[in-house]
């Protein structure tokens, strides 16, 4: 089981390394969107501190959407997805490996770049720490939920826009609690715990159901 998981994970990471542009576009998209706001609304310290958490999270949602479309599409086009469905392995395990690779390539870089981005919004050290924690818990949820949408819209014409319409509403809870955690850290660090706990609960729930739901959706899309 683990060997197969590793195999698919390494495969997707190798593929991404050979096509670095896909990974870098997501990261630069995130950085640019986040940087546009201070330029647009001015450098007023207080406004930026209020805006910061929400802007970072919205940018993270959009950035994670960007690469989602390609999650299964490339494998679908060259027939490797078909072969994956036909292997003697649980499809949900292979899907989970693909989602993990997607998160490592698109979610984790956002977590790591967050301190740099936070500084543009004059966020305190505490707020930045909480933002990183919240992103660490929240971005995998984005990849997991997004995978269901990517599997459902696979092979459809104009699937990209449909995918956004389908998935963005489902991202709302993560957005609310993710941004909420950072805002709460400005009042009292202890207040952030329930937010983080809820994000953790989302992660556990998504980890349990999303691979199963995506693999079921994939089987339908492949027909």
């Amino acid at each position: 089981m683990l060997r197969v998981f590793w195999c698919v994970l390494l495969r997707d990471l190798t593929l991404a390394l050979r096509r670095r542009t896909d990974v870098l576009t997501t990261l630069f998209f995130f950085i640019i969107v986040v940087s546009l706001f201070p330029l647009g609304v001015g450098t007023e310290r207080q406004i930026l501190q209020i805006l910061g958490p929400g802007v970072v999270w919205v940018a993270a949602l959009l950035a994670s959407m960007l690469a989602l479309e390609r999650l299964f599409a490339a494998d679908y086009e060259d027939g490797t997805l078909e072969q994956m469905v036909l292997t003697a392995q649980p499809l949900s395990l292979l899907v989970l490996a693909k989602i993990t690779a997607h998160w490592l390539l698109t979610g984790l870089p956002l977590v790591l770049i967050a301190p740099l981005v936070g500084m543009q919004y004059h966020l305190s050290d505490d707020a930045i720490l909480i933002m990183m924690l919240a992103l660490l818990l929240g971005t995998p949820v984005l990849s997991l939920i997004g995978a269901i949408g990517a599997a459902l819209t696979l092979g459809l014409r104009g699937g990209g826009i449909l995918l956004s319409l389908l998935i963005l509403p489902l991202y709302i809870p993560v957005l609310v609690y993710g941004a909420g955690a950072v805002t709460a850290s400005g009042i009292d660090m202890a207040d952030t715990r329930p937010y983080l706990a809820l994000l953790g609960a989302f992660l556990v729930a998504a980890l349990t159901f999303a691979p199963l739901a995506s693999s079921a959706a994939l089987k339908i899309s492949i027909e």
Binding site: V4, C7, D78, A88, Q89, I222, E223
Partner: protein, 205 residues
């Protein structure tokens, strides 16, 4: 080993075939024929479980394939219109991943040998997108050499292959059938088989 009863498939509203019955025993080549659009690919995809037939049942060793699930897929090798190889990975990497996903532990030396046999010496370490159509197909066909699956389902395996590769593929199929394997294939050309049984199934008309 492979038995199909009263199979009916539709594509949209169009009925492709209905009431299809056949059984294939070990050591047999089943050659599915029919005009373009007669449902050959749909039949083959139904046999794999990639397509859900409207009615009818497909049994493998007496058990419905739907219920066997992973146990059936372990016995199956499907070769479709798409090669199922990654253009950014080398031939070696592609085959190694395919073998791992099939649950086989294949030595790298075996993969090199398979690629050598299929006629790709010197191309093993190139990303497969640099190869020609026929060479890509050869990489995909090297899976046949490495696979231990008793049931091969091959959809148009001979297209884009040169004379040498066609000969080799015919040899591989003959060897597989001689070892009591089953091959179900569609092709518009005659397949020369020296041993084993060849059965023909005509779809449409």
């Amino acid at each position: 080993m492979l038995a199909v009863t009263q199979l009916q498939c539709k594509r949209g509203d169009r009925l492709l075939f209905s009431g299809l019955d056949f059984a294939v025993a070990g050591g047999t080549l089943l050659h599915v024929r029919g005009a373009n659009g007669s449902g050959k690919t749909t039949l083959l995809r139904s046999l794999c479980g990639l397509f859900t037939p409207d009615s009818g049942e497909i049994r493998w060793k007496g058990e419905p394939t739907r219920r066997l699930g992973e146990d059936y897929r372990r016995d199956l090798l499907y070769f479709g219109h798409l090669n199922g190889i990654k253009g950014d990975l080398t031939g070696i990497e592609n085959l190694r991943i395919a073998a791992t996903l099939d649950g086989d532990r294949v030595e790298d030396s075996a993969i090199w040998a398979a690629l050598a046999r299929i006629g790709l010496v010197g191309f093993e370490d190139l990303p497969t997108r640099m190869l020609s159509q026929g060479q890509k197909k050869r990489v995909a066909l090297a899976r046949l050499i490495l696979s231990k699956a008793p049931l091969w389902i091959l959809d148009e395996p001979f297209t884009a292959l040169d004379v040498g590769a066609v000969d080799l593929l015919e040899t591989l199929i003959a060897e597989h059938v001689a070892h009591a394997g089953i091959v179900v294939l569609t092709t518009h050309q005659e397949v020369g088989l020296t041993s084993g049984q060849v059965e023909r199934l005509h779809l449409g008309g």
